[in-house]
Every structure is written in structure tokens, then in C-alpha cells.
Amino acid sequence: MTTTTEAPALTPVAAPRKLSYVKAFNEGLAQAMREDENVFVAGEDVAGYGGVFRMFDNLLDEFGPRRMIDTPISEAALVGLGVGAAARGLRPVVDLMFMDFIGVCLDQIVNQAAKMKYMFGGALSVPLTITTASGAGLGAAAQHSQSLEAWLAHVPGLKVVMPSDAYTAKGLTVSAIRDDNPVVIMLNKVLLGSTSEVPEEIYGIPLGQAHTARHGSDVTVIALGRMVGEALAAAEELAAEGVEIEVIDPRSVQPLDTETMFASVRRTNRVLVVHEAVTFGGLGAEIAAQIQDSVFDYLDAPVLRIGAPFSPVPFSPVLENAYVPDRARIAQGCRRLLERS
């Protein structure tokens, strides 16, 4: 089990206002930059162009080229720049555009950023934030569509967050930047334009605190990132059948708030874990194992996992649709769980 960070109080929503996921990220980042002069952003086309996903729109205008830096296509040097700057007290936000590109800079993330504090005997910290867009659904094919959270969550020293809507995108971004550890923010490409209520003031969402997105008594669905919306849609479908699904959004997968999950399992006795990444070796395996370790006696059925088949992400939309889990598969999984005992 991992520990949760201390939770700053959430500012209550003043006036409901809808914002898109990408704009909410942008707003959180801008506010964090206003809050702390040491925060700067570096990445490919983040300054002049505002980022290929418009994540960094207008930030150059406000913060200027000292704090918004366009870099060459040199991801290893980019992350390394962040590590070195963080070690010297700055709070870098480096952008990797597509999550798949971490392949070219994995050493800087895994062997350097993640381990530096430990290897320096705690003498320094690496408050580095890495932003990136993950996920399938845009026909972007095998090298631009992956969900690699399991790679990163496996590395001690790293934190990984997966915002599931605009509200969490902003809050997790602020918390990631304020956090004194290297944190990877996995924005989901399909969610970029989706909207939800977002408070105007700056607020953080504690890393390592899960959110119960829907209360229900029959099955607990633990869903990561984009799958939260799919799970909520599946819950609507099942509610019509008289089945009440509880949907838990871990929000951060490292640290992972298992207590909220265990409490839910004690009430529903059935669990389905769903993520976009391939099932094999995915976080579903970790979550299922922890549940079995801790609340086995409460289970009426084995923990079920839904994820992608063990294949690279296919291009053709007909294959990609079959590849990514959706509301129908989640609803089906819940029905299967309810058929047991």
C-alpha cells in the first residue's frame, strides 16, 4: 500500500463554470506559475505555438520567454534539463507532447529523476512535473496512442496522475507542480475538449486521494483516466436494469489510494478494474492483488479486470474501437460479476 500525501482543503465551488479539460489544465498551470516564480515550462513548440494540443495557449504572452521555453526535439536533454533545474531549486514543467515519446528519454525519468533524492541521501528533491498526452481514440496509431502508466507507476520515486475530467485536470496539475517529487501528468487526448465544472480560483487535488465518482451498492468499478466517463455511462445503463454501480476514480495511480477502494469493496463485495492500457501487467493487476490481500473475505467474486488486448494500438478505427474498453464492455463485466454466486 502506498501512502497518501497530506490533503490541502479544497476550495468549495463558488459559481459553477464549465471549462474544457485542456483549458482547465492551462488555467491551473498559469495559476501555479503566478503563485511561484520558480515554475517554468519547457518543451517542443510549447511557447510560440502554444503546444500541439493547445495546452500552453497564451502562456508566452503572460510569462514571456524566460519562463516559456521552446526546445529542440531532444527529449532526453529536455527531461535532463528539468532534473538539473529541479535539483537546483526550480520547479520545471516539461512537456513530452505524446506519451509514447518517453521511450527516447526513459533514462532521465527512471534512472535520474526518480532516484536522485534517494541517492543523494535526501539532500535534495526533484520537484519536476512532466506533462504528456496519452491514450488511443484518434487514429494516431501504435507510436502515438499508448497508455504507459504501468511503466512509470512501477518506479519508486515517481508519481503518476491521470485526470479524468476538466476539474481533476486543473486540480491535479496544481498539486503536481506544488509537489516536491517528479510527477507525470497523463492528459488523455480524447478528453481534451470535454467540459466539466471548474472553479476559477487555484485549487489542488491531493495526490493519492481517490474520488468516488458515483455511489452504488452492487459493484465497485475502479476506472482510470478516460475510463471513468465510460464507467459512469455504463452505470447509467445498469441503473436502468436496477443495478447500482459505484465508480471510483483513483485520480493518481502512484501513490494509489487503496483505502477508498477497500472501503467500497466492503460495501459492494464485487470489483471490476478498468483501464485503457493493455491488461497484462497493467495497474488492474496491482489493484486486484491489493484488494485480494486486504479485503479478500469481503469478495463474492474474483476481481475482474478489463483493459486492452496484448497488442500495439491499431490504426484502423474499426480495430481501435474494438481495442479500447468502452461502456458496453464495462457493463458486460459488471453483469458477469453479478452472475457469480
Binding site: 505555438y49 529542440p72 509514447d100 487514429g139 496509431a141 507510436q143 491499431p314 490504426f315
Partner: protein
Amino acid sequence: MAQRVSTASKKSTQVSARVIKNLHERMVRIRLFETEAGKLMEAGKLPGFLHLYVGQEAVAAGVMAALRDDDQITSTHRGHGHAVAKGVGFREMYAELYGRVTGACLGRGGSMHINDLTRGMLGANGIVGAGVPIAVGAAFAARYKGEDNVAVTFFGDGATNIGAWHEGANMAAILGLPVVFVCENNGYAEFTPQSGHMLLTDVADRAAAYGMPSVIVDGMDAAAVHRAAVEAVERARSGAGPMMIEAKTYRFFDHQGVKGLRHPYRSDEEVAQWKARDPIDLLEVRAVADGIATRAELDDVWQRTRDEIAEAIAYAEASPLPDPADLLLNVYSG
């Protein structure tokens, strides 16, 4: 310090009428493939991303006309031009863009991953710079097996900032492998001008750091690119090791897709200046003036290619979609 090779002084200065026609046909094929693909994308018929090559045709045509079928190439995210020039068929290329099972990657890869081993096309690549070490490996295999084919790796100015590029260049040089490095310097990496991502004016200077000779050519002049390529390929084939060609060129469309310059990262005047040096126009004007081809002959190439493309698009649209039951096909061998 490696030498800068001058192509002008070599015996192969002249390009024959046959080669001019060959270059013309390759360029027309790329241009029409690309413009039609752009229209299909604008019409919402193609999923995914489309990085168009229009404007850079002289480079693919010039280099590929210097290669044999069994020579290997590695390409980039902007790979259609290389594939077409290397001889990959329109049918399997369009079918791939449509995500059909008859496509070059059986609908699994899409625009950024088109490949064709029968044509020595070792793949477009979604990861910038990743094709460079792969070409080095292909060249290594050729020498290892005692074959005399060469490998050519295409990359942009931006890609030379990636570690894999530098490691690949040094590896090729130190092992003396038959690889030709072709930089398509279109002046931009996505939306960042070259001056914003390196302090060099000539990317070719990077070759010198690894002891690799280089040459700079006008990337809008297919004949000039071809002469340089013939020399570099002959050099590599003879065992003299790698060489780099930097072709100064320009992409006429946006980084991705056809339109949508939400941020004016290059001026209309600049685009117009380069379009005034359209590589196909340049070659056609010269071919007619030199009596190599008549306008009617050139028009005939366009028309034949148009017909072939229309047929290929119809084939792609009529092709079946992949079967989701085959989702795990080809994940592993055996």
C-alpha cells in the same frame, strides 16, 4: 575534420534525358498522391494524422532514382513521398490511409507507418530520428551478408537534435557502413524555425563532427539532388562509408494536414517565394527548354498518374475493413 564534397566538379554533372523523365514521373506521382490524400482528409474520409510532403518531391525523387530496388530506406513521419518514390503501390498506400485490410500495414499502421519490404521501404516512423539507427543496422546487415546494397535514411532538420541521430551517425562512421544520410531541411521542426532549434546554418556541419563527408544541394532541383545521391550511393556501395546530403527544401502545406495555420509561424511571402520554385515546375520548364520532353508528354504523365490514383482510391474505398477478431495478428512471430 571531414571534407565537404562538391558535386559540381564530378563527372556525373550531366543528367540524361531518360533520368530527367524518370525524376519527373516520380515527382508527379508524389505530388498527386499527396494532394489527393489531402483532399480525402479534408473531406473527413481519413482517420489519424497526415503529414504531407508536397514541396519536397525533388529530394525523394532525386535520391530514389539513384537506388536499386534492393537498397533499403528508412523514412519519417512525413513518409509518403519516400514510399511513392521507392515504388510502393498507390493501392496499398491509399488502402492503408483508409485503414483497410488491403493496406500496406493491413490497416494496423496508417500514414505514419507505411512500409514495403519488397521495395526496400523499411518504414515511415512516428518517432522523430528513430529511423536513423535502423538504417545503420540495415547497412550493417548488407555488409555482414556480403551484399552490396546500401541504406538511405531520411530525416528533417529537427530530427538531427535527437540523440538517436547522433549515435547513429557516429556508429555508421566508425563502422564505415554503406549508409547515406539525407537531411530534408525544410527549415522547420513542426512550427519552430531552424534558427530556433539549432545555431547552425547548415545541418551538414553535423556530419563533420563524426568524420562523415557531406554535400549541400538545392532541394528544389531534382537533378542536383540526384547527382549528389548517385555519388553518395556509389561511394557507400564501394565500401567508402557513409556520407550526408543536406537538401534545402520546403513543405508547402502545414506540418500536419492541409490547412489550419492557427499561428502564423511563417510568412505568406516566404511560402510564396518557395512555391515560386516549385520543384516540378522547375524541372518541367527546363525539360521543355532543353528539348527533353514536350508539354504534351509531360501532361500525359500527369493524366496517366491521375487515372492510376483514381483507380487506387476506388480500390481502397471498396476494400474490406480489418476484422476485429484478428486484433492479435502479428503481435508476435511464430
